[in-house]
Point group: C2
Chain length 418, copies 2
């Protein structure tokens, strides 16, 4: 019985792969409308062409004043101001302040000429149409956003490798950047292999199953900002598998092979990865459950990952290896963190030390008085190897680290949500 | 000075809105290729048309046997089996077992005729070409996935309202479902108002600013599975604002108004929401910082949300109110949980009881010996009201609940990631 030759912890296998990839985007860049850039990776530093705010801006509703005129003001001895005008929203100040003068200011509006602070309306009292009392002194600059305080011209707004979020798009709009250079979406070729696998819309023969992994992997690749290229299915003929993999990799930036988990099939995946380019196989097996029969390789600069056939294993390995590799190909060194939640474990989870375990769990709201505060209960969803619905019934994965021999019911755990 | 009239906690404002919306998708359904359904909401229960597995399947590499023949086997007294054949992957069993007979089985393959269990290859010893020793008994069904064990024909695979994930797509593929009925993407009309606001690609005049909120909100709506419809800008003319809002709402399922935060502007938003339909305004102000000047309404069955002009407030309110409303319009009662992480607070955060606070925080890896395990440090990013780059420099929001008067540095907190 052939054994695994080069079993590595998942993080080390990933590290070996990433260490051989260039830190910058290796997939090239393309121009993208800034408003459509959500989730894309900046391909170069994006620099603010101008300062923001462009003018001293009130951050409150109230009155712009010369701060010195408010010094010493108290409830008992308020400072009196003559209201000499108003600076309407979106208008340059048409009024300038002398000693003891104030002008109505709106949140986001410009200050009156000579004003250096804003008194909040809540700190004032109307005396008559043209007069207010100010009950509290303001310091120079108080309730004012200074020019360039948000961002300075020439400052890096978003660094190369940054994954663009909703607020980043807003910030680009704020400084007038309508187009950004982003990494091309890494193309990930996905090949499913095996005589037993048929297309989902075909009726399987006896002992056949439909292709699952091509579709979960494609969705995971798309979630990571990649462009999945499903190559389809090829039966158990080594030369045909090799040709399909070679052709797919030539058209893509990365290759994912999904095959069965039996030893002979794994060996064939190893041979394909070894044959497609240098240095070939980096890890043959991971100290991981599920997911041990994974293969990690690099073929002439392009990552090649062999997934176990078991769909649960395939998803776990895809998450641990394919996802960060897709981000790295786009030049992102630190992928967005997976969504996680703290939960209370509902049942003992045994584990073998020296191996990382990922256990599918369903989350349900805690009942009152469980001692877990408002943390949900994480209930393991056990299922035999190869059952895809185990993951459908789960809300996330519980990670049992390699140095743990298990986790007891009632312990607080971190669950990575799907 | 006009005050807020109907200030509610954000959850209560949301509850009042959602209570008036139908639980099922109100936006109608459309057919979608299952492979493209990531993030879409199932519009009806999706039922498995067949059972999975369709055949008793080995979950291990080894030998299919009649379990009874292994009873009593030990290392010292192994059971002997004659290997009478092999069931290749994807092939119906061409061999049937008699007493003391075994057939080679592959992970995912069919069992031989008469076999009811699989012995793992690791529990066997080859004696010669046709003979193996089995060192451990197996129970009937051991290492076998039974027909229907993954999912039964007629079982609900994904309930109506479920947001489709990568593994769900795999599960649909597994049972041969290539098309699904999903909720149409809720159309959310977004209108920015104010004389001071210009299009991002225009050069602002003195005291003007570029439109930010239309773009952050559009990205947030898209993230929630909605279809943003940016209506553009309209100046401070009530009749024009009303007409633009009415027209936008007629073409959409929901309306988001972004205006300044000054009192007069808020009043105008209230008037628009009141005029567009019944019951009109549900909450005028939220016990929330930032985000107090928000308006929540319902106009003849369509949600209408008024956002504060401050981009930080707008994002927080959008996340708390617009996002769940978009999911609800699509028939999803429990939106996917926001991404969160546990962190150690790096600095005291004061807060007023009775008000929920959301504080932007940057996350940085903990240094050794900080007592926080491997939790990151959450450092508040303070910034004056209205500074969009506060959020660009932050990695998430720290939620300070209404019953808290602040959180001390060193406490463990949950941070909602962007």
């Amino acid at each position: 019985m052939a054994e695994f030759f080069n079993v590595l912890p998942p993080a080390e296998a990933l590290g070996r792969l990433l260490a051989r990839l260039p830190p910058a985007a290796s997939v090239g860049a393309e121009s993208c409308c800034a408003w459509d850039a959500l989730g894309r990776v900046a391909a170069a530093d994006i620099v603010a062409p101008e300062s923001l705010p462009a003018f001293a801006r009130s951050t409150m509703d109230g009155y712009s004043v010369r701060a010195a005129d408010t010094f010493g003001a108290t409830d008992g001895l308020p400072a009196w101001f003559e209201v000499v005008g108003e600076v309407p929203m979106g208008m340059a100040a048409g009024v300038s302040l002398g000693v003891g003068e104030a002008a109505i200011a709106h949140t986001g509006g410009m200050l009156a000429g000579n004003a250096d602070a804003v008194v909040m309306v809540e700190q004032t009292q109307r005396v008559d149409d043209r007069t207010i009392e100010v009950m509290r002194p303001v310091a120079p600059g108080e309730n004012v956003a200074q020019p360039g305080e948000d961002v300075g011209a020439g400052e890096v707004v978003l660094p190369a490798g940054h994954v663009i979020r909703a607020q980043d798009i807003g910030a680009l709009a704020a400084v007038g950047i309508g187009k950004v250079l982003v990494a091309r979406r890494p193309r990930v070729a996905i090949l499913a292999m095996g005589d037993e696998v048929v297309h989902p819309q075909q009726r399987p023969g006896a002992a056949q199953v439909r292709d699952v992994n091509s579709y979960t992997v494609a969705a995971q690749v798309a979630s990571a900002g990649g462009a999945p290229v499903r190559l389809g299915l090829v039966g158990d003929d080594y030369e045909m598998q090799l040709a399909a993999a070679r052709d797919g990799l030539a058209r893509s930036d990365m290759l994912v092979l999904s095959a069965g988990s039996s030893v002979s099939v794994r060996d064939r995946t190893v041979d394909i990865v070894a044959e497609l380019g240098e240095p070939g196989v980096l890890a043959h097996g991971l100290s991981l459950r599920p997911g041990k029969p994974a293969i990690v390789g690099l073929c002439d600069g392009k990552p090649a990952i062999g997934l176990p056939g078991n769909p649960v294993s395939a998803m776990v390995v895809c998450d641990l290896l394919v996802r960060p590799a897709v981000y790295r190909l786009a030049g992102c060194l630190v992928p967005p963190a997976a969504s996680e939640t703290t939960a209370i474990l509902g049942q003992d989870v045994p584990s073998a030390p020296g191996r990382e375990d990922f256990v599918p769990v369903a989350l349900r709201p805690a009942e009152g008085g469980d001692g877990g505060g408002n943390y949900p209960i994480a209930q393991p969803v056990w299922g035999k190897s190869g059952l895809i619905f185990t993951l459908v019934r789960a809300d996330g994965l519980l990670h049992v680290p390699a140095d743990s021999s298990g986790i007891y019911a009632g312990e607080s755990v971190r669950v990575q949500r799907f």
